[in-house]
């Protein structure tokens, strides 16, 4: 028992490996949030009138709203007036090649292991790197252009493709949707925009790396992905953040629109600063992600590996509007120390013969709390709807908690819905088996947990799968169930 306790402590003491900060001069909006802040951000970004109007509408709506208190998480009240809502790295001229990128930023990326030029040459991944709200470099733009694909920062999209932005912005997640999406709509700084025209299959995986840098700056990303009829795209989002003491708020919004026969696959690896071993600091990750299968036979698939953040509050959802459309959700959520995660998905079946699959794997260690909260709704006209949900929880140590809150709302007799959930710990016999074969306990746990998450990792693109596996191993160092 004592060795067990020791190893658990060791595990609990594993420090955030990728915590560092880069000193960059930042251009800050005045502290606090008023209509003026919203106007300041909009002016700073030279936005068209319609967007400012939309932001202000969202801001006014946000003022009427109350912070949600239903998630199974605890945190001190956030003072929304005590934060900066805009920070941009000072050097901001348009860059044509990677050489023009600020060497300090380059170095940061190198530390993260995503050296841009290497990525460009070797991996064939177009990277839209976002550092504190403003895109600093975009690669592979030209090649994508050949196919008519638009992949750029949100601010650029606002200037170059205002019609598209106007048409789709807020169409999946309206600013009235919830407290944090309203906040995001009012003050979002930047993000990514992706448009795949009719019949085009995106030749490469699109990727954005997010980082939060300036202290005390909430980052409000806005991502919009539109896949026209028959188009298909795989989109990667991955993040790490430097070590900071003060909690940072992150309230992003991701919207996906899939037209007839379109396919969108959205993968996330999230490893933001989770706070230290005493639960101090760490990032609040309050994200609204939703996709809509507008046309028949469309498919949207979410895959997420959540290992970071002090608090995660995130429900990537799919609205299955078109007949025969498909929604998928694969998730691994790992919490350690005092981390809290309340995450899951919503599958709303509106069209006929729509199908959805939910696979969720929760791992809790230390003193963390991990909740799965999911909704499967089958509307009255969604005959032939089919859902399968499985949510498993793994507990490591006896101070953590695992929770499941599935909601099933079925209004059609033709629907077939199955939900199952299990909670277990790592079997002593499994560890013993590994020990016998010369694998030490630490590695055995890594092995078992990776096996436990296999179903989800299989859904990740190659590069991410490797990264995700490493991430879990790092996070689980020294843990014994």
């Amino acid at each position: 028992m004592s060795t067990e306790q020791e190893t658990i402590e060791q595990f609990t003491n594993t420090e955030y490996k990728w915590g560092f900060t880069t000193d960059l001069e930042t251009d800050l909006a005045p502290k606090g949030l008023t209509e003026d802040t919203v106007r300041f951000i909009s002016a700073k970004k030279k936005e068209p009138e319609f967007l400012l109007e939309w932001r202000l509408k969202a801001f006014r709506h946000w003022q009427q709203m109350q912070e949600p208190d239903w998630p199974n998480v605890n945190y001190p009240p956030i003072d929304f007036q005590d934060a900066y809502y805009y920070a941009a790295p000072k050097k901001q001229e348009q860059l044509k090649s990677l050489d023009e990128v600020d060497p300090q930023i380059r170095e940061t990326f190198d530390k993260l292991g995503i050296s841009l030029d290497e990525q460009k040459r070797l991996s064939g991944v177009a990277v839209d790197a976002v550092m504190d709200s403003v895109s600093v470099a975009t690669t592979f733009r030209d090649e994508l252009k050949k196919h008519g694909i638009i992949f750029c920062s949100f601010s650029e999209a606002v200037h170059d493709h205002p019609d598209l932005v106007k048409k789709y912005l807020g169409s999946v997640v309206p600013y009235t949707d919830n407290f944090y999406s309203a906040l995001n709509s009012a003050v979002f700084s930047d993000g990514s925009f992706c448009f795949i025209p009719k019949g085009v299959r995106c030749p490469m995986e699109l990727s954005t790396y997010f980082r939060i840098n300036a202290a005390n700056t909430g980052q409000f990303e806005r991502t919009l992905i539109v896949a026209e009829e028959g188009a298909s795209v795989s989109y990667l989002e991955g993040c790490t953040a430097p070590m900071r003491d003060e909690n940072q708020l992150h309230a992003a919004v991701v919207e996906i629109v899939a037209h007839k026969d379109a396919r969108v696959k959205y993968s996330t690896v999230q490893n933001w600063y989770p706070g230290d071993e005493n639960g101090k600091g760490g990032i609040y990750n309050f994200v609204t992600k939703r996709g809509i299968c507008l046309g028949d036979n469309a498919k949207i698939s979410w895959t997420q590996v959540e290992t970071g953040s002090a608090i995660t509050w995130k429900y990537p959802s799919v609205v299955l509007k078109g007949d025969n459309s498909v929604g998928e959700f694969y998730s691994v959520a790992l919490t350690n120390n005092y981390q809290q995660a309340d995450t899951g998905t919503k599958m709303v079946h509106l069209g006929k013969n729509t199908r959805s699959t939910i696979i969720s794997k929760g791992i809790s260690a230390g003193r963390s709390n991990n909740s799965y909260r999911g909704l499967v709704r089958v509307a009255r006209n969604a005959s032939g709807a089919r859902n399968f949900s499985q949510c498993d929880s793994l507990l490591i140590g006896d101070r953590c908690g695992a929770h499941t809150f599935p909601y099933l709302e079925i209004h059609n007799k033709g629907a077939r819905v199955e939900h199952e959930a299990t909670t277990t710990k790592i079997g002593e016999d499994q560890i013993f088996y590994c020990n016998q074969r010369g694998i030490d306990t630490e590695n055995a746990i890594g092995l078992i947990v990776n096996g436990y998450c296999k179903e989800v990792f299989r859904e990740l693109p190659m590069e991410f799968a490797v990264e995700a596996q490493k991430l879990l191993e790092i996070s689980l160092e020294g843990s014994v169930g």
Binding site: D69, W70, R380, S383, S393, L395, I396, G397, D398, R399, C400, G401, A402, H403, T404, F405, P406, Y407, L408, E409, I410, H411, N412, K413, G414, A415, R416, V417, E418, H419, E420, A421, T422, T423, T424, K425, G481
Partner: protein, 446 residues
């Protein structure tokens, strides 16, 4: 904490306004210690009101239809009821029978044929007078009047019900059957309050049935408390067959002690709006709990089953199986929560909820919940929602069985494993026959 605005203020005012008159009619009952709890409950009710749609536990069940009517307490019966009781009993299985008509105990219809030494089986009003020590030691101990509104309402107006006390080392060989009959001449509300105390090493089996006679609206607001002693075995069967205009809210609270076994079967066949809460606390090691339930909804019925299994201590086992068949425009709600506390290592908890939807107008909202704080546990839950298997139907049809009959057979087969949970043969067969009858002629309303 945010101050919650008072909910359904009119209904709260209406019920509280009746409290003074109720107090006067207690004939000195207001001097008993229990009356303090009543007053506390009134206070809680006025503070908290009734649950609204924003209460997570009442998300899918609107209580507005219940509170929209001003139900008064029923008039005291002038004469003994002339009801024929035989059809409502299970023949020789019922040697101990307590009958309540419109909330009042009917001596003429009841019979108590067998009682071991020291066993107390009587009405709550009698117990409050004659067994005050036994009652006061336990009444209201495990029922939270702070939540839900209806529990506070029951506690405030609790005057009648059943009290059972089985002393240590006594095994009751005969079943105790409690019958609640409603004959609504005019709309009324009853607040039956039961307290069942089972000592160590006891064994008992209880049946509680609710019947509505004739048309008319009324409201049954039941609270039962079970205290299950060390190594005791208690079976509880509740069959709810209220009239189709009736409201039924029940709150069953169970506390189990070491090595005890509690099994409950909850059957819902009637009622317009039904809400059942079963809360079981496994308060010591090596407890075993079995919760079974099934509900048949048709017409515009709304049936809501909530269960809460609280694993407070280690080495316990709980098993839960609820099944529902929803026809017509009926709505079903299932909310099953399993909580495993930090000390409850080596817990084994199972839960399963299965629902058949027979029409597009029927709907089910299911929420199976797990909250786990201990690592060395095995907990699973499953929920499925579907329809009758076409292939099985075809198989039966191919063998010359009418479509109606085939459907009835499949539905019957669907709930048979819950019926198996009823251990008394006579009772199970009787219920089985009723259900088959219902399946073969329920077609007309779908």
């Amino acid at each position: 904490m945010k101050q919650q605005e008072s909910k359904f203020q009119d209904a709260v005012d209406w019920y509280i306004s009746g409290f003074a008159a109720f107090e006067e009619n207690l004939n000195g009952g207001s001097q008993l210690p229990f009356h303090k709890l009543r007053k506390k409950a009134v206070k809680k009710l006025s503070e908290n009101g009734f649950p609204g749609p924003r209460d997570e536990e009442w998300k899918y069940t609107s209580v507005a239809p219940i509170l929209g009517q001003a139900f008064g307490l029923p008039d005291a019966p002038a004469t003994e009821s002339s009801l024929e009781i035989a059809p409502l009993t299970f023949e020789d299985a019922d040697r101990n029978l307590l009958v309540f008509v419109n909330g009042s105990f009917s001596k003429g219809l009841s019979r108590l044929t067998s009682q071991a030494e020291g066993v107390v089986v009587c009405t709550l009003s009698e117990a409050l007078q004659n067994h005050a020590d036994l009652v006061n030691a336990s009444l209201g101990l495990f029922t939270d009047i702070g939540t839900g509104g209806f529990t506070a309402l029951n506690t405030a107006f609790a005057a009648e019900g059943t009290f059972i006390h089985v002393p240590d080392n006594v095994e009751l060989t005969d079943v105790i059957h409690i019958v609640h009959i409603a004959e609504p001449a005019k709309p009324f509300v009853v607040h039956p309050r039961n307290l069942f105390v089972f000592g160590d090493n006891t064994r008992a089996s209880l049946i509680e049935t609710f019947h509505g006679q004739g048309p008319g609206s009324y409201f049954t607001n039941l609270v039962s408390e079970f205290i299950v002693g060390d190594n005791a075995r208690v079976d509880h069967l509740k069959i709810q067959q209220e009239s189709t205009e009736a409201f039924h809210v029940s709150n069953v609270n169970v506390q189990q002690k070491r090595d005890s076994v509690f099994s409950a079967v909850n059957v819902d066949l009637g009622g317009a709006l039904v809400r059942n809460d079963v809360n079981v606390e496994l308060a010591a090691e090596h407890c075993e709990t079995h919760l079974f339930g099934f509900y048949l909804g048709s017409g515009k019925q709304h049936i809501d089953n909530h269960t809460f299994v609280d694993h407070a201590m280690a080495h316990c086992f709980s098993n839960e199986l609820y099944k529902g068949i929803l026809d017509g425009q009926s709505k079903g709600v299932f909310n099953g929560k399993i909580l495993v506390r930090q000390d409850a290592q080596k817990t084994n908890a199972l839960q399963s909820n299965k629902t058949l939807l027979l029409t597009d107008d029927a709907s089910i909202n299911a929420k199976p919940q797990l909250e786990i704080f201990a690592d060395d546990v095995k907990c699973t839950h499953g929920a499925t929602i579907g329809q009758l298997d076409d292939e099985a139907l075809f198989y039966l049809r191919a063998r010359g069985i009418s479509e109606e009959m085939a459907g009835a057979m499949l539905r019957h087969a669907f709930i048979s494993d819950v019926l198996e949970g009823i251990k008394l043969d006579a009772v199970r067969q009787n219920l089985d026959a009723q259900i088959i009858e219902r399946f073969t002629d329920v077609k007309s309303d779908s």
